[in-house]
Amino acid sequence: MATRKEYRIKLISKELLNADTCYLGFDCPEIASSCIPGQFVNISAGTMFLKRPFGIASVDREKGTFNIGVKVVGKGTEQIKDFEVGTEVDCLGPLGNGFDFEGCDNVILTGGGTGVFPINFAYETLTVIGKNVTVCEGFRDARQVILNKDGYILTTDAGDMGIKGTVIAGLDTLTIEDPAKTLVCCVGPIPMMKAVSAWAEEKGMKCLVSMEQRMACGAGICLCCTVKVKDDGPDGYKNVRCCKEGPVFDSREVAWS
């Protein structure tokens, strides 16, 4: 059935996670009841013309609320960070394809930067449905660490918290028992996702990655947000929509550049 998918939603909580990242809670039963990890919402950012996409970071299905984490990188995110509790904004969602956990017993969640937000939602979901979950997150240094939980493997480039190195150093501490039944999900900067994909593929595990691209609509109608996937056509690649075919892709399909 057709639904507008666009809601006027109220900001109900706001928390600073570190100097330039905040965690926002919104009231929206429609989105909270139907979204899955890896999906995102597109929300209006004050005076900006276009909406801005953010991965869903957490959901309370009973209360009908969800959270996003927003790192300030420009004019839009700056305005979002300044929203006061009670502000109402336009929001389109849930959008895109999330993670498909079907057919695996174990899930390794890994990521960094703002990728920890969808990882957090995936972790919440997986612990409820009872899969074996391992989380390994990488940050620049201790001050960047956000949404950390007991039992997470942590790495920092600076080495001032957790294992020194990239997430690969963290992942290398793991013993993989049944690669065919183990799924790796990675959300982070491109170099990290590339490295994790290679790591997973080498070990015979399927790996899902979540791509980012500048978006206009988030709804699959403008073709502004394409990412390259492998193809045997004349160009050797095909442009597909990050917002519609993605943002989650099988790492083997992505034509890394």
Binding site: L50, A216, C222
Partner: protein
């Protein structure tokens, strides 16, 4: 739906003046998740070419004041794939089917029209895109030259009975000249306007935001230019005009119709609010009822000073 919204673009009858603009609705399928497409007057397909195209690489959108630049570059699955996979869906949507036709040369356009003509029972009009600013050859190059516009329009005219709507670029000195050229070539209507060529620069990297360097400007910011061009052309043309550029609410639709448009296309505003045509349609119905008029009576009622 109320009959008050009925309009005609030449021989094409539309149940509402609202057409989804090419490139901002793909082939309608995604939007069918958001609302019932049969409320629409028409849907203009993504710009099609003979062969599939991947479009331009890298960043394709740059936000601007009251609008955006895009440099998609005519990514499309090719006309043959379209005919097999999307045309029936469009036809069954209940909205008029406008097929947006692009190319790099006269031959491309001829090929396209020859390929589409056999499917005329599923097509309500061909929108000949002589105005895409995001590809190197064809399109805007042809569309800035009245002689070339007339030549290509009359060539295509001989190939099909389907209504030919020529979509023109605003990046010209004299829009009347290009519109009159389309009319002289046998066009059934002109569509005004495609995007304005623009650029944005990232001052940190000192590079254009768009990997294609330049892009097409659309959204509310271009409306005054579009209205001016529609009004200018309405003074000299005998064929109908489809207005386009920056429409974001029902008042904008009315403004375009008063300026001289028989129908309108909505693009960028639907990227921000996909279900916007639902609201605009309801508002237009109310406007007609409140004012006791049929919408089509507005066309060209502009009273100049």
């Amino acid at each position: 739906m109320s009959k008050l919204l009925n309009v005609n673009v030449g021989s094409v009858n539309l149940k509402s003046p609202i057409i989804l603009a090419s490139g901002t609705c793909n082939f309608g399928r995604e939007l069918a998740e958001y609302y019932d497409l049969s409320i629409l007057g028409g849907i203009s397909s993504k710009g099609l070419t003979i062969k599939p195209r991947n479009g331009n690489p890298g960043v394709r959108v740059a936000e601007c004041a009251s609008g955006m630049l895009n440099s998609v570059g005519l990514q499309n699955p090719g006309v043959h794939y379209f005919i097999e996979n999307d045309l029936d869906f469009m036809k069954e949507s209940g909205a008029a089917v406008i097929v947006n036709v692009a190319g790099h040369s006269f031959e491309d356009y001829i090929d396209m029209v020859t390929t589409l003509d056999p499917h005329k029972d599923k097509i309500d009009a061909l929108e000949i895109n002589l105005s895409c600013p995001n590809v190197k050859a064809g399109c805007m190059t042809i569309g800035s030259d009245p002689e070339a516009i007339k030549a290509i329009t009359s060539k295509l005219r001989r190939l099909t009975d389907l209504p030919l709507w020529i979509k023109l670029t605003p990046n010209v000195t004299d829009i009347k000249a290009t519109a009159l050229a389309a009319q002289a070539g046998g066009a059934d209507a002109v569509v005004l306007i495609n995007t304005l060529m623009g650029m944005r620069i990232d001052i940190r990297t000192r590079r254009p935001v768009l990997t294609n360097n330049t892009g097409g400007y659309s959204g509310p910011a271009v409306k005054p230019v579009a209205i001016r061009m529609v009004a200018e052309c309405a003074q000299v043309l005998d064929i109908p005009i489809v207005g386009c550029g920056g429409i974001a609410d029902y008042k904008d639709v009315i403004e375009f119709m008063i300026a001289g448009a028989s129908a309108v296309e909505i693009g960028t505003a639907c990227l921000v609010h996909p279900a916007l045509p639902v609201d605009i349609t309801a508002d237009l119905e109310k406007y007609c009822e409140d004012n006791g008029i049929e919408l089509k009576d507005l066309t060209g009622t502009l009273q100049r000073w």
